[in-house]
Amino acid sequence: MADAIAVKGVRAAQAAPPPPAPRRLRNGFAPAVPGLAFLLLCFMLPVLALLLRSLTQPQWGLQNYAALLATSTYANVLFNTFAVAGLVTGISALLGLPLAWFLAVAPRFWSQLVFGIVILSMWTNLLARTYAWMVLLQDTGIINNFLIWTGIIQNPLPLFGTMAGVVIGMVYIMLPFMVLSLRGPLAALDASLFQAASLCGASRVQAFTQVFLPLLAPGLAAGGLIIFVMSLGYYITPSLLGGAQDMMLAELIAQLVQTLLNWGLAGAASFLLLVLTLSLYAVQIRYFSPRRGKEG
């Protein structure tokens, strides 16, 4: 491996001049009209209607938002939502980085095989995958039965109907997004940088934390943000694998709409979710957008 790294030359790409500005298209707005009209009618208007409902039902005012933030139930739900999204993002990064690294350095055959497995899991039906986890995680499921049979544990681990179950099921679903986000940056990584680092006296740990990680930061941030935002609004997996104590925001919204018919509060909860998502997106654009990074 070290030889392979050594023969690679210094890449000139870092110093490449910026691409020429594209020629201005005339009347560039017109082709976007159908798509924009669709978004306006089918997305923006309903969102505004929902926002209006959260402010008008049962009467004018911010009472729904006050209830959402002041009631301990909803505070619990918000905490659960962030805890699960954070754990899923962190674990996906910890598992995804070595996996993406393997894909980048493994022989072509193995790399393609593993990549195929990663992609295949994404293409399988979400419900089917989640029900499969139910079978695996139950007290009488394969995992617990195996652990008890080997004598590692006496009583079944509480994997089903708990936050642990939700996190396991969601990491499995989100992992491919992390791997895909890291694949590009890893492929573009110049291996000679590590040699340079070690020539300058950096230890392996220093090379990892001061060269490797900063270069991958945009990929990690992009993957992490996709996963975090998707997790915030996730519904099926938490509702099937979680218990009542682990309710997340999307489940709460569904319950408010379908069971309690409290659409004002549902609107407030949906709007809160939307605002959280958009602010995270704004953070990404501001700090992690690759183009900005190069300009700055």
């Binding site: 301990s72 619990n76 739900v77 009488t140 218990g243 009542a244 309710m247 409290n262 659409w263």
Partner: protein, 337 residues
């Protein structure tokens, strides 16, 4: 040729569509084996008798229900809903009053009839358990259901805020059946707290079957028809009817339903003695028509809540409709704590 053929197909389709619009209605229920039986025992003979086709839709969704009525764009004619929702929806003006004849009205069990809703079927919450889970004595009473020492393991309960679980907790805590209402919520939640960490929630009937069949929860408070279905499949489960808690599903017509006349006819037919008896035979859920029981054979009768009327307790749906929101707020707050 192709063009002519295409035109012919279009015309035929047009005729079919307009016939469909004139002579059909939409029935919405919860799916699964229950709706299969409703289709076989109610919709098919109804179509044969009246010529009105019945399109099946589902599952019932109260949010959709309310949205349809409020937007004036209703696509459902008859909907199978839970009893407390039926009472609540009538209060909120979401329903069309029924036009049953005096004879039809008289034939229906008055427990399951309101001016805006007629019973679909009724059922009991029973104690379902695995017969191979406990050594020695088998669970029998609601006290047993809450007794972790005598009957260890997870127990499953209905997830949503609805009549049943709170009543069971109070009865297990020693409240007399005639003193249940108004519900002492503090006492009920205190009792539920004693087993909270051992509760697994089921959100659908199918889930309750899965929990019992897999052994994830060897005991639970479940619908009688679901345990019966498991028994018939040969799963090692049984049920105790001690203090079984009865409530019903109701048939309602949303306000502004496209074909109210057909909907009224359908409800009159579905709640009549014959179709009710046939549905009970197929599902183990009880008929709400007083004339149905004599039509049943012995085995079908033995599986029904009616055969265990001596030990059953009626859940008070008027109370639930009046306190639905405040109980729900406490229920979900307690659940997420």
């Amino acid at each position: 040729m192709r063009r002519v053929l295409g035109l012919g197909v279009l015309m035929a389709l047009g005729t079919a569509l307009s016939a469909h619009a004139q002579n059909s209605m939409v029935f919405t229920s919860w799916g699964g084996t229950t709706q299969d039986a409703q289709k076989k025992d109610w919709a098919v003979p109804f179509t044969a008798k009246t010529g009105i086709a019945v399109v099946q839709d589902g599952p019932t969704d109260y949010g959709k229900f309310k949205a349809m009525v409020q937007s004036g764009n209703v696509s459902w004619d008859v909907v199978d809903v839970e009893y407390d929702f039926a009472v609540r929806a009538a209060q909120d003006g979401l329903l069309t009053p029924l036009t049953l004849t005096p004879a039809e009205t008289a034939s229906i069990d008055p427990r399951f009839l309101t001016p805006d809703a007629a019973g679909s079927f009724y059922y009991s919450f029973v104690i379902g358990y695995r017969t191979n889970a406990f050594h020695g004595a088998q669970p029998k009473t609601l006290q047993d259901l809450f007794d972790i020492k005598k009957f260890p393991g997870k127990r499953c309960f209905y997830k949503w805020s609805a009549a049943g679980v709170l009543e069971a907790a109070l009865l297990a805590d020693g409240v007399a059946p005639d003193k249940l209402y108004p519900l002492d919520l503090n006492r009920a939640f205190r009792k539920l707290d004693t087993i909270k960490k051992d509760i697994v929630w089921w959100g659908t009937g199918a889930q309750s079957q899965q929990l019992l069949a897999s052994g994830q929860a060897p005991i639970g408070l479940v619908w009688n028809g679901r345990v019966q279905a498991l028994e018939q499949e040969g799963a090692p489960v049984a049920m105790s009817w001690d203090q079984n808690l009865t409530t019903g599903d109701m048939l309602v017509i949303p306000k502004g339903a496209p074909d109210t006349a057909a909907a009224q006819k359908f409800i009159a037919f579905a709640t009549s003695a014959g179709p009710q008896a046939q549905f009970a035979t197929d599902t183990g859920y009880a008929p709400i028509n007083k004339g149905s029981l004599p039509l049943l054979d012995k085995a079908a009768y033995a599986a029904l809540p009616d055969a265990h009327a001596a030990t059953h307790i009626d859940l008070n749906m008027q109370y639930w409709a009046a306190h639905r929101d405040e109980i729900a707020a406490r229920w979900y707050a307690w659940q997420t704590q």
